[in-house]
């Protein structure tokens, strides 16, 4: 019983991590309809920024996390302004080719600079080991992930629903032309959202180094997971991708633990079946534009 709960908790932590990693993609892919396969590259950038700061410059882990966010967001906005924004109106094929190119470049560049082996981030002692909660063993690190990601999710929901920026973004996504007509600077809103999503991915990358493993092939290995979160979750709200990532996280952890031999293809099969029954995702709204 206790091991089931522990696994469930691990699954939740994994799912929340996936959500933070992928929710930026939910905006670019789901809302702006841009097929960005390079999202994992931003996550990897955040992870490596954090690793360099902690391991080589001796920063404390919690101080390095915000910098992972800022660093990835800065890379994101630089690329958005120079490259991505020219491609919003291009065909999906062009977008796919472009982002695959970016992934290849990032993989080789990180391999060149940081080496091809897996990188570990030194964690503070307070985050190691397990604590016992009502007889259920819970990893401290995973608990921290659940707390951080839970807070982030709440904050995102509030920003989207309550703030002026949130309503601008929703307007820009619903109908860009009408939004421009109302005086909303749509390109700016998109650029900012893109950068924010990249920042979140960077933060997720820094947090996930311990659980998912950080090496130059990170963007390729986890690309499919991010895409699953977005396509299965749909893009009408933040809740869809959130539930989808929790589902994926729990299913993946449980699959690896209980049926290690058939683990991966359960997930792919479920994804294909869901996409066939509901092409717009489990929580999708209307047909994709």
């Amino acid at each position: 019983m206790a091991s089931i709960l522990t696994n469930l908790f691990d699954g939740v932590a994994y799912g929340m991590l996936l959500f933070v990693l992928a929710c930026g993609l939910a905006v670019t892919l789901g809302l702006m309809n841009f097929v960005n396969l390079a999202h994992g590259a931003f996550a990897m950038a955040g992870g490596y920024i954090c690793a360099v700061l902690v391991n080589q410059s001796g920063w404390p882990f919690f101080a390095a996390l915000p910098l992972a966010f800022l660093g990835s967001a800065a890379i994101g906005i630089a690329l958005e302004r120079t490259l991505y924004r020219h491609l919003y109106s291009r065909s999906h094929l062009d977008q796919v080719l472009f982002s695959i190119g970016l992934v290849f470049m990032s993989v080789a560049a990180v391999d060149y600079i940081m080496g091809s082996s897996r990188v570990f981030i030194k964690l503070p002692a307070a985050l190691e080991g397990q604590i016992d909660l009502f007889g259920v063993g819970i990893g401290r690190y995973r608990l921290m992930i659940v707390v951080i990601c839970g807070l982030l999710t709440l904050a995102l929901q509030l920003i989207l629903a309550k703030t002026r920026f949130g309503s601008r973004l929703r307007a820009a996504v619903d109908d860009p032309r009408a939004a421009i007509g109302l005086g909303i600077n749509v390109p700016q809103v998109f650029a900012f959202t893109f950068a924010f999503g990249c920042g979140l991915a960077g933060l997720g990358g820094a947090l996930s180094a311990e659980i998912l493993g950080l090496d130059p092939y990170f963007p390729l290995k986890f690309m499919i997971y991010f895409l699953i979160v977005v396509t299965v979750g749909g893009s009408s709200s933040i809740t869809g991708p959130f539930l989808a990532s929790l589902l994926l996280g729990i299913a993946d952890v449980a699959g690896k633990y209980y049926v290690p031999k058939v683990g991966p293809f359960v997930i792919y099969t479920v994804m294909i079946v869901i996409l066939l029954c509901r092409p717009n995702g489990l929580f999708g709204r209307t047909a994709a534009r």
């Binding site: 490259l83 080719l97 190119g101 391999d111 293809f265 792919y268 294909i272 996409l275 092409p279």
Partner: protein, 343 residues
């Protein structure tokens, strides 16, 4: 002249062999005799060209963007490997067709998944199928050899006459003949009314349906055909290298394939073949400059191609040949200009 016969004469004129096409194949044949020490790499190019031809059928003619075309390549490769390994079909040509048919069956079954949904769903489903097959091949390692791949494949002589030699001469001519035969078939298909209806579907599925083209069954048919081609390419890979490993399913293979086709241009059949030559040369070049990090340069090529614009690059490349042709022939350029965008 009635409208119908006008359309058919137009289509017939489009299907005629041009001088440039004949020149292309003569050049290919000349290469086969000019570089006898390069059979292995040339076999590689021929195989890749066939594989790209297969993607061109669905991407260039039907407008289906696939991220998992390696699935059919892999199935073809493993089928050919298993057939040869267990001695089920010893004759390579029959085994080749059998492997292609296995891939075609898979293509037929998965086509129902692919024709549903929009671009994004298609991307996900094709990618998912390739990953699924890779996971399956890894799981059933007692059949596929797992991460070690199939080992100890011994190929029998082709038609019982031509044995595979260690310099790859037989393998090369075998691949080249297969490519040429399949190319002729593809050429016939895309210039047939069936091929024309595919172009109509690509340009506007809704309008194609309105003028009476059965959109879904046409897409299923071409997807199955493309899977057959990819399966043959995979089987050639196994037969000429006597090897089949898990990386036949890898995402990089599908991604490289798109690059090949994009370099050469989509929608005129030669794109895949020209792209394969350019891609292999680029790969050789980059690997000689930076052996470990050539992936970076491949990525850069992709980004640059997209940023500059595919149509524009092809115009630049074709500028000189067109100029020459215009000078000498005194008529409109005869070099095929690839069709512009796939949406």
């Amino acid at each position: 002249m009635s409208a119908l016969s006008d359309v058919s004469t137009h289509a017939m004129a489009g299907a005629r062999w041009r001088i440039s096409e004949v020149a292309f194949w003569v050049l290919v044949l000349a290469c086969a005799f000019l570089f006898p020490s390069r059979y292995l790499i040339m076999t590689d190019i021929v195989r890749l060209g066939l594989f790209a031809l297969s993607l061109d059928l669905i991407l260039g003619y039907a407008g289906i963007v696939s991220l998992g075309h390696a699935a059919f390549f892999g199935v073809g490769a493993y089928s050919a490997g298993l057939l040869a390994l267990h001695g089920i079909i010893n004759e390579p040509v029959i085994a080749l067709v059998a492997a292609g048919l296995v891939a075609a069956v898979l293509g037929f079954l998965t086509s129902f998944l692919v024709i549903r949904g929009v671009d994004l769903t298609r991307l996900m489903v094709t990618l998912g199928i390739a990953l699924l097959l890779e996971a399956l091949a890894e799981r059933f390692s007692d059949i596929t050899g797992g991460t070690d791949g199939l080992q100890g494949i011994e190929m029998q002589p082709i038609l019982g006459l031509f044995a595979f030699d260690m310099f790859g001469k037989t393998g090369f001519f075998y691949s080249l003949i297969v490519l040429f035969v399949l190319f002729l078939l593809a050429r016939r298909v895309v210039h047939s009314p069936f091929g024309l209806s595919l172009r109509a579907i690509k340009n506007n599925p809704l309008r194609a349906a309105a003028i009476g083209v059965p959109v879904n069954s046409r897409l299923i048919a071409v997807y199955t055909l493309a899977a057959f081609y990819a399966g043959i390419a995979g089987a050639l890979f196994t037969q000429t290298t006597a090897l089949a490993s898990l990386d036949v399913f890898s995402f990089e293979r599908s991604a490289d394939l798109m690059l090949v086709l994009v370099i050469g241009g989509t929608g005129y059949l030669y794109g895949g073949l020209i792209g394969a030559v350019v891609f292999k040369m680029l790969q050789e070049l980059f690997q000689s400059i930076t052996p470990q990090y050539w992936l970076f340069w491949i990525g850069l090529v992709l980004v640059v191609i997209v940023m500059v614009g595919r149509a524009r690059i092809h115009r630049w490349v074709l500028f000189v040949p067109n100029l020459v042709i215009r000078q000498f022939a005194g008529r409109k350029a005869a070099v095929a200009v690839p069709e512009s965008d796939v949406s």
